[in-house]
């Protein structure tokens, strides 16, 4: 059968790369649409509804528009850093999908250090942010980039520490093993024994994806776009695509680590190879909560942001690390 040839290694890899790129770009497009629609319905408006049936072709129109817009760059800008920044921001949004298990056995590269890989690659996003702000050589951009750098490295710490509980319980750094350790109904998912860690990871994930209430680097109502104020046309479009794709990525990783990945909530709902439907549903639900929070919570101030990260989230992580370790020692049969 022709499918067997496709399963051979080089072909399988090339096709999966195609699938992932397709997925990332379409996610970005779908999320821009979802963002606007959800925002609109929360504010009792219709949102985009002119292009195509119910406005569904709006993202295609947006991409076409961005392609035909002039690419401006400030005269003083460091043009190579300025142009490399969208690339650097796009890398983490796309690369981490390699290690995410979509369904049983469906993962492009089952690295045994997938969690470390996720953390390492996500930090490239902060680099892209600084490149964008510094390369523009503009006051608003640099301010946004500095804030963003401080925010992203501060929230990287609780993000890293909150994963320790999951690693201890599953005894593995591979995302495939983590998902398999959560089989057998939703009461086996790690968000229950690791509830404080889950909340910390969710909040730090919001900060890493620079979503409201952590959108200080962008701060459109005070520094009018922050690090991306000088971007226009497709360079701006790519930064936006990377932001929306990383929002989906953070949701997918949260689902994989704490909400059972592709595992169905009850065992009788097991769909076999079609368990990716569960994965998709949970990810979509989390993305929706991200958009919901955007219209419910005001932006934090810089000192509040730092206080929340260092004085609340990090101590919570350390305490719950002790609790998990102690409980695993005392009740080895339960955990």
């Amino acid at each position: 059968m022709s499918l067997d040839i496709l399963n051979q290694e080089p072909f399988r890899f090339l096709l999966s790369v195609g699938v992932i790129l397709f997925l990332v770009l379409n996610l970005a497009a779908v999320f821009t649409m979802a963002e606007r629609k959800v925002s609109a319905y929360i504010q009792l408006r219709y949102g985009p509804n002119r292009v195509g049936p119910r406005g569904l072709l709006q993202p295609a129109a947006d991409v076409f528009k961005l392609f035909t817009k002039e690419n401006l760059s400030p005269g003083r800008a460091d043009i190579w850093i300025f142009l490399a920044a969208p690339i650097a921001m796009f890398i983490p949004a796309a690369l981490v999908w390699l290690v995410v298990p979509f369904a049983p056995n469906a993962v492009v590269a089952d690295l045994n250090v997938a969690i470390v890989f996720f953390i390492a690659v996500t930090s490239i996003g902060a680099l892209g942010l600084i490149m964008a702000g510094y390369g523009s050589r503009s006051s608003f951009s640099l301010l946004g980039a500095l804030r963003g750098a401080a925010q992203m490295i501060s929230y990287e710490v609780p993000l890293i520490l909150s994963l320790l509980g999951v690693i201890m319980l599953s005894g593995s750094l591979s995302l495939v093993d983590v998902v398999e350790a959560q089989s057998g109904g939703f009461w086996h998912w790690y968000f229950l024994p690791q509830l404080p860690m889950f909340v910390v990871f969710y909040i730090s994930g919001l900060a890493e994806a620079r979503r409201v209430p952590f959108d200080l680097p962008e701060g459109e109502s005070e520094i009018v776009g922050g690090f991306m104020v000088e971007y226009s046309g497709m360079t701006w479009g790519l930064i936006q695509a990377a932001e929306f794709a990383s929002m989906g990525l953070i949701s997918a990783i949260t689902v994989t680590l704490f909400l059972g990945g592709w595992q169905p909530p009850f065992e009788f709902l097991d769909l076999g190879n079609f368990n990716w439907i569960w994965f998709g549903l949970k990810t979509a639900l989390l993305v929706f909560t991200f958009q919901w929070i955007r219209w419910s919570v005001p932006r934090l101030r810089m000192d509040q942001l730092m206080d929340l990260g260092w004085k609340v989230l990090v101590p919570v992580c350390l305490v719950w690390l002790f609790v998990t370790a102690g409980l695993m020692l005392l009740l080895p049969s339960v955990f």
Binding site: L6, N7, V17, F90, L161, G171, W310, K311
Partner: protein, 133 residues
């Protein structure tokens, strides 16, 4: 069919090959984004440029200062703190993977290790290093 391709399974291929894949994918992504930018450059109009047009956007004000100048030391303090906790995590991760086999010995070791770091955090807190001014 897409699923069948992903399910081909990467278990039978060697470990080095997996990282080769990651590197290859990295190159493909960089190439893809760079190509998009290049295509945009070809399609997009580039009208006559002028000094005013290439000025920085500062909500209509004239730019008076160069933003490339020293910025507050506050940022470096947080970078240092981040470094400490990042290295801590690098030590804790291998410990967490094998914690189940370590038992009480591993627990006590970790308590000592994290307590020392906790004291460090408390010290930084007390000294006001965590205060954003």
């Amino acid at each position: 069919m897409v699923l069948a391709i992903l399910q081909g399974g990467s278990q039978e291929i060697g470990y080095g090959a997996l990282y080769l894949y990651v590197g290859l994918f990295l190159l493909i992504v960089v190439g893809f984004v760079a190509t998009t930018l290049a295509i945009a450059r070809l399609i997009a109009p580039s009208r006559q440029s002028s000094k005013m047009k290439r000025m920085n956007y500062e909500t209509g004000e004239m730019t008076v200062t160069d933003p490339w100048r020293p910025f507050p030391v506050r940022y470096y303090v947080f970078a240092l703190l981040f470094l400490i906790f990042d290295v801590e995590a690098a030590f804790l991760y291998p410990w967490a993977v094998v914690y189940r086999d370590l038992g009480l010995y591993g627990f006590v070791e970790m308590v000592i290790f994290v307590l020392i770091l906790g004291i460090g955090l408390a010290y930084a807190w007390k000294k006001g290093a965590l205060k954003w001014v």
